[in-house]
Subunit: 414 residues, 2 copies
């Protein structure tokens, strides 16, 4: 890397224009966006990205998994690709920064490299991965790109088979072709992702950049506590098999278990449904959706076992049956030490403070771990908010992140 590159910066105003335009697509009016995978809003954001790529004089590329990319070629046609990116889909009623910042920063890095006529030894590609948030499958685009999408994930997607089929039809993607998105081995030189932290650690520590050491592993389950529907007026409390009691007790106990015995982990029950669901009928069934995460594989396995035992005990306590359906499982993924060092050097060049941390959130980066060197940085989330309209990162932090990305690309690819 020649010394002159170290003074190069992204065009913060141009990046801001892109970010603001993108944030208007699927805007919910309360500062947030709703762009769930293959919704009309999500498809509009993808169209916007394609136009942005073409306006920048970059090559547009779409693969059969719907991943959209800007490509900046290099002199060596056989050179591998250094991939930068994130995702344009959001959770329902999510924030403007999650995913979007990483895509906007990635294309801005490509524009900056291109307009400065810098010759790289790798191709550079800014990618929007399909369905990172998992409205349908989760990490769908990145898993397909590395050839690790499991056919079962399409047969029984977490978002429901019907929604997947209709979504792919809206996006014009034939399902059978999705596996053709797999890239040839050794075609990728690395993957870098800028993302908001979605937690409070950077803000609390007053640090500019978080250099991710590992992405948590996770497990998720659909659990059904099954009792019996009875008339809620004429059935004594003693005579009930109230599925809601099992669910309530489990929800409370999950938090206690994690806080007391698995302090490096987190767990969440984010969705619950009582059936038949009338105020005058004792719940016959309580369905709940559990997720838990840890950056440590041993802790993750231990928590998994402890949660299953806990659910069984709570069902038994209230005379209920328990059905457990595993929805997904993923080991923790370590980020490349080399790339962590390169991020560190970029922070030094830019005069930014940094710290290492684990990502509690799941990211496309983990799909790439077994295929190429992978690195990820975080910028501070105000009040740690994310997956919500009040999600916010100061614009100077967004620009800092993009400049770390740029400087790291220049280190790795020149």
């Amino acid at each position: 890397m020649t010394e002159s590159f170290s003074t190069l910066r992204v065009n913060a105003d141009r990046m801001h224009d892109s970010f603001i335009h993108l944030a208007s697509i699927g805007a919910t009016g309360d500062g947030g966006v709703s762009r769930v995978t293959f919704s009309e809003e999500h498809l509009a954001a993808r169209t916007w990205f394609r136009t942005e790529i073409e306006n920048a004089g970059l090559e547009f590329h779409m693969d059969s998994a719907g991943n959209h990319s800007a490509v900046l070629a290099c002199d060596d046609k056989n050179a591998p690709t250094l991939l930068l990116g994130s995702h344009l889909d959001s959770v329902p009623n999510g924030g403007r920064f999650d995913g979007a910042l990483g895509v906007v920063a990635a294309i801005e890095v490509l524009r900056t490299v291109k307009e400065n006529g810098i010759s790289l030894k790798t191709k550079l590609e800014a990618i929007d991965f399909t369905d990172e948030e998992g409205t349908l499958v989760g990490l769908l685009g990145s898993a397909a790109l590395v050839g690790r999408l499991h056919p079962e994930a399409l047969k029984n997607p977490r978002g429901g088979r019907q929604n997947l089929v209709e979504g792919m039809r809206r996006a014009g993607l034939p399902e059978e072709a999705i596996f053709e998105a797999a890239r040839p081995k050794n075609s990728l030189a690395g993957y870098l992702e800028l993302h908001i932290e979605q937690g409070k650690r950077l803000e609390r520590a007053g640090i500019n950049i978080g250099i991710v050491s590992a992405i948590v592993g996770y497990g998720s389950y659909h659990m059904s506590f099954i009792g019996r529907a009875d008339h809620a007026g004429s059935t004594t409390m003693e005579d009930r098999l109230d599925a809601g009691q099992g669910a309530g007790a489990f929800i409370l106990a999950v938090r206690e278990l994690v806080m007391q015995e698995f302090p490096s982990c987190v767990a969440n029950v984010g969705k619950v449904k009582f059936s038949p669901g009338a105020s005058n009928i004792v719940p016959a069934c309580a369905d709940l959706f559990l997720e838990f995460r840890s950056p440590d594989e041993t802790q993750l396995s231990g928590l998994d076992v402890a949660l299953m035992e806990l659910a069984g005990r709570k069902a038994e306590q209230f005379g209920l049956k328990l059905l457990v359906e595993p929805l997904g499982k993923h080991k923790p993924n370590l980020m490349s030490a080399n790339i962590q060092q390169a991020f560190q050097k970029s922070c030094n060049i830019l005069g930014l403070s940094s710290m290492g941390l684990a990502s509690g959130a799941i990211h496309d980066a983990q799909s790439l771990v077994n295929v190429c060197l992978v690195g990820m940085i975080f910028v501070p989330s105000v009040d740690g908010a994310s997956h919500a309209p009040r999600e916010y990162t100061k614009w100077e932090d967004c620009v800092n992140g993009a400049n770390v990305l740029l400087q790291t690309v220049l280190q790795l690819a020149t």
Copy 2:
């Protein structure tokens, strides 16, 4: 009452034909029926009832609240009416007996009186009350009939305003006319209702007939525990304001409170919703629907206060806000002592065992309490099941109930 009437019995086979035909309307294939108010199935059941009335040579009458009746006139045109009845609507996926038995028995009593040419001193009317179960409003038809339907109940119905408007349109009932269903004062001589117990007391005691002493009062609330949506992977357990914790703790504590401090009462949380409702987002809001009941007014008020305090404490424990919306409240209603004695005498005539008990379920009978003498009897529910497809009462018990109804009509109206 002349001695000869005491040998009179309903036509059990004819009543069985009626019951089986009715049970086929809205049948769910698992032994249950789904005939929620003004659904196509419910409207079909009402049409069946009208045909049944006309086939029996009885007068058909429908009022502006949609109550359907069979009327058997008497010599004195100014005589008051002795009303018998129940309801044809059901809870979603409910049972065949709840409400339906009372309507079928009522018309069978009229047919028996008519074909035996018995001269009564009152008109006799078998009525199907609109919306007893409260899919839309709850006790809609009976409240309108006694002139106690509150306009607010139509403006903000528990089943949702839109559902009420659409339902009334399907049933051909103009909303503004509904209050015209109110009957003149002193036009009713009494109201008798046969119903299944929906509990286990009669079955456990091996008793044929339950003579209802009181119908429980109740209260119901929509409660919202409000926390904050956060990313469930990147937000530490300590940093969360998890609305689900408040809901879970409350659901558990309600049961404990009732069992330990209010043993004559019951309470139920039958419906819960977490928002935004994704497994990877900490619940920002947990909405739940609470109902509680007691045959004793003092106990009911005490429980009401204790439940509100409990919800407040649980919200506070987890740093949550609490919103409470009252959905309804009703004092316990005592049944007529005279009619209880008449039921007792009928049981003696028929050689049936009986016991007094409170009704834990709400019934149209309570709407009539302040207008005329009201009495209600129960027949045993197998395993106490109700509001569920496995709801079942032995046919001989159903016939016993109808015969008690007939004998009591003969006592009161001859």
